[in-house]
């Protein structure tokens, strides 16, 4: 039983969805002892070729990334015996998904909602930032959710936390991410959520640098010192990670990460195919399905008041139970209000 994963041009090492999907494949390998391989695409026109070649060799082919949509729908019908998994790929315009394709989409807005709420609750300046890569749908869904999270906080507490938005128009230029983060910090934001691929590394770096300055620490200071300093000074700067758990990249400076469990998607897909339970069609993974969520905040839990943690937990519950629907488009976002009341 062989699984081949084909990446988009981002390739492995994006510390984002390609890496995430591969982690899921590896999890499946360890569990079921299957043969796995990854093929990376250099340019957009490689997709058809790589998927076709993979389809000839493998039982399951995973196409990672929304960029591969067209290629996937062109290739899959040609290889009916092979099962295809499309991650972050929406159904074709007509809506009919070929039988041998299982698509996974994510409710990015839900995970972004958590971090938006968290950021609004944690900001000392009344301003938070959002940095997008290119304004593609998943990035925009992150933004809708994030802004909705801030709005929810404002509604509940009658506050007026603002969101500053910027786009690097790149998923790779970390230097630009850093510059933009510094600019937003300068405009008064103290927490920034980066949904901009590798540009986010620059955002994290900027938060760390600014915090170090406030805390008066050096770069190697251990976590306990950071937490103490944060309380002592009563302020600090944070980045918020995206897709995978990026909290470890700068412990104490990444407040949380808005998870998109791409790994779960690829794992579910391979598992189902291996167990002959492959259904085909579209599955949208939200908080309910463990497809999105908030990182465990391994390093920053100690910095967040427990009441806020409890509120986020409750919001999670509200979303999972359908009490709360997070907007996934501009229109819904503009009309979004919340009347949630915490039971505690």
């Amino acid at each position: 039983f062989k699984v081949i994963m084909v990446t988009d041009v981002g390739g492995l090492g994006d510390k984002s969805f390609n890496d995430g999907a591969w982690a899921g494949v590896l999890r499946a390998r360890d569990k079921y002892g299957i043969d796995v391989q990854v093929i990376q695409s250099k340019e957009q026109s490689d997709y058809v070729d790589n998927l076709s070649n993979a389809a000839k060799e493998a039982d399951v082919v995973i196409a990672v990334g929304f960029m591969m949509s067209n290629a996937l729908f062109d290739v899959a019908p040609q290889y009916p015996a092979t099962k295809f998994i499309g991650i972050d790929i929406a159904p074709p315009e007509g809506g009919n998904v070929p039988k041998n394709i299982q698509l996974y989409l994510f409710k990015e807005q839900e995970s972004a909602f958590f971090v938006g709420y968290l950021a609004a609750a944690m900001t000392k300046t009344g301003k938070v930032g959002f940095i997008g890569g290119i304004a593609i749908p998943p990035v925009e869904r992150f933004r809708y959710g994030y802004v909705a999270g801030v709005k929810a906080y404002n509604d509940i507490y009658g506050e007026n936390v603002e969101v500053i938005v910027g786009y690097t128009d790149s998923f790779t230029d970390a230097a630009k991410g850093k510059s933009m983060a510094l600019a937003q910090f300068d405009q008064g934001a103290d927490i920034i959520f980066a949904a901009a691929g590798a540009c986010g590394n620059g955002v994290i770096d900027a938060a760390k640098e600014k915090s170090l300055k406030v805390y008066g620490l050096d770069a190697n200071a251990d976590l306990a010192k950071i937490v103490d300093a944060y309380y002592e000074k009563g302020e600090g700067y944070f980045a918020i990670g995206v897709d995978s758990d990026q909290d470890y990249m700068a412990p104490g400076y990444v407040l949380a990460s808005a998870l998109k469990r791409v790994d779960n998607a690829s794992y579910y897909g391979v598992r189902d195919a291996y167990r002959n339970r492959f259904k085909g069609g579209l599955e949208v993974l939200g908080a309910q399905e463990d497809g999105v969520g908030l990182s465990p905040m391994k390093y920053t839990k100690g910095m967040v008041p427990s009441r806020i943690l409890a509120e986020v937990e409750y919001l999670n519950y509200a979303i999972k139970t359908g009490m709360l629907v997070v907007p996934d488009n501009e229109n819904d976002l503009n009309n979004f209000t919340t009347d949630i009341e915490f039971p505690f």
Binding site: V9, Q37, I39, Q40, S41, K42, E43, Q44, S45, D46, V48, D49, N50, L51, S52, N53, E57, F66, M67, S69, N70, A71, D74, V75, Q78, Y79, I89, A90, E93, I134, A135, I136, P137, D169
Partner: protein, 353 residues
């Protein structure tokens, strides 16, 4: 002068030997990471030429590489370094798409040439900006074309997430009208053999004729070699600079249009995949000769297609970028290669000149 190798033979031998040397060096690298170069190359060969699908994939890539190579090579002939084929290709694709989606119900007989022309004009216009600025103000084309590349990238992004955006998922434009799509020559499963390749090759011959048989070619070359003499010889430099850029851009724009019409049927962010930049390598390997460029484009497309397959032998495809670099390095250092060839082909060994 005992072993005289003719000039023509040499101009073919140099790139061929360069390829061999590059493959040899890469083989050592592959060995170093503990893989078997022979099987890696075998998979690569099969990947590039092994079956119809491989050929289709290969030729699909080659289609626009020929054109971007011609675009850059044509500029070089006139002494202009057009680094901007990438941006011109994107602009060509944008304009072709614009026209392609707004065509309505017309016959392909009109739709295809009109869409193609739109791409040509888009690329030509974009390049002419640099040409015009050079002619009018002396602005260096290397600066302006680099900047125009970036602007084209951001404009493409803007169009596919803004005014042209359609549907959910990939930010993309709508599909161009069916009548504006170039039918494939052959379909092998999901791969198609685009009929655009015929247009590319015809263009190479047209460029050859333009350069060698027309007054425009004569003037372009004269300006490229010696602009002072050209000017004294009744050739308008300004007109020529703009014209050269326009033709160069038109070729790149056509590449963009063909990508849209023959392969993707729409535009999306980052769709050019650096083919405009590859044009530089291809022009250089093909020594700015239109016919040489056809072969150079085929070489690069084969390496690329083969490299995708090589990953199945678990050799990272980045090795192919290195191979491409080494080939071009030796094309640059052609004198070293010549010396080696002479040494190798002379019975006594050595004694050249």
């Amino acid at each position: 002068m005992k072993n005289k190798i003719s000039k023509n033979a040499m101009s073919i031998l140099v790139p061929v030997v360069s390829v061999i040397i590059a493959l040899f060096i890469a083989a050592i690298v592959i060995l170093l990471i503990g893989k078997n170069p022979i099987s890696a190359y075998w998979v690569m060969l099969k990947g590039a030429f092994g079956d119809k699908a491989a050929w289709a994939a290969n030729i699909s890539k080659m289609m626009s590489l020929v054109l971007t190579g011609l675009a850059v090579g044509f500029g070089f002939k006139a002494g202009i370094f057009n680094i901007g084929a990438e941006g011109q290709m994107m602009m060509g694709a944008i304009t072709a798409t614009f026209v392609g989606i707004n065509l309505g119900n017309v016959s392909p007989v009109f739709a295809i040439p009109i869409t193609m022309l739109a791409g040509i004009l888009g690329g030509a216009f974009w390049a002419s900006i640099a040409g015009y600025l050079k002619a009018a103000t002396g602005a260096h084309e290397v600066i302006t074309t680099i900047m125009l590349n970036w602007i084209a990238v951001y404009l493409t992004n803007y169009f596919v997430v803004g005014p042209l955006a359609v549907g959910q998922g990939v930010p993309k434009s709508p599909e161009i009208a069916q009548s504006a799509q170039l039918p494939p020559l052959m379909t092998v499963q999901a791969n198609t053999l685009p009929s655009g390749i015929i247009i590319s090759i015809v263009m190479a011959f047209l460029v050859y004729i333009l350069l060698e048989k027309t007054t425009t070619g004569y003037e372009v070359k004269a300006v490229g070699y010696n602009l002072y003499a050209a000017e004294a010889g009744a050739i308008s430099l300004k007109k020529n600079i703009v014209l050269t850029m326009a033709i160069s851009g038109a070729l790149a724009g056509l590449a963009g249009a063909l990508e849209v019409m023959a392969i993707h049927h729409r535009i999306f962010a980052d769709f050019s995949g650096g083919k405009g930049f590859d044009g530089i390598s291809i022009a250089l390997i093909g020594q700015n000769n239109p016919i040489g460029i056809i072969f150079a484009a085929f070489l690069i497309s084969s390496l690329r297609t083969g490299s995708n397959a090589m990953q199945f032998a678990r050799v990272p495809d980045d090795i192919v970028t290195i191979i491409q670099g080494i080939i071009i390095f030796f094309v640059a250092a052609d004198r070293i290669v010549r010396t080696w060839i002479l040494k190798f082909s002379s019975p006594k060994g050595g004694e050249s000149k």
